[in-house]
Subunit: 98 residues, 2 copies
């Protein structure tokens, strides 16, 4: 089975799309991300599992593209905020009472 | 340096939040994802790099939570659609002419 680190996925997106992503810029790329999230929301209402998987793929892909043009390491950011415990209650599983 | 596969991150989110995520359900969790994307968009207008990193972390975290309650493997979905080449033109880097 193929596996991939978050950072490897982001680097792959850089190789594939960075020239185009950087030319489009932050605002345009963020708008694409929003569109992909909207498309994901539409698929969630249906029953096409494969189409839903593809929309999840597109959201993480556009998030990685946006991180690339912002100079942000998505894996580092994710692990800094979620270091195997809830950032609010510091527990795993989360014990927040709200 | 810590590293993490996409699937490991999703599994960590499952350990932390699955009970709460599944109780909230698909619609509520999708709405949280949308809110986090909106917050990311607000941070992108500013200059607080650390705050922006945290918003990227929240978006991938809520995307993973949503994938968990949908029974979707985010890593498998991402690699199925983006197998180290552009899904449209089949090239790396992307050579699409649109």
């Amino acid at each position: 089975m193929r596996t991939m680190q978050i950072s490897e996925f982001q680097e792959m997106m850089r190789r594939l799309y960075f020239t185009r992503d950087s030319a489009r810029g932050v605002d345009g790329t963020f708008n694409w991300l929003v569109d992909e999230v909207t498309e994901l929301g539409e698929e969630l209402k249906g029953s096409d599992h494969l189409a839903t998987e593809k929309e999840f793929a597109d959201v993480i892909a556009w998030l990685a593209s946006l991180a690339n043009i912002m100079g942000i390491d998505l894996e580092k950011a994710a692990l800094a905020k979620y270091p195997k415990k809830c950032p609010k209650c510091q527990s795993s599983p989360c014990q927040c009472t709200f």
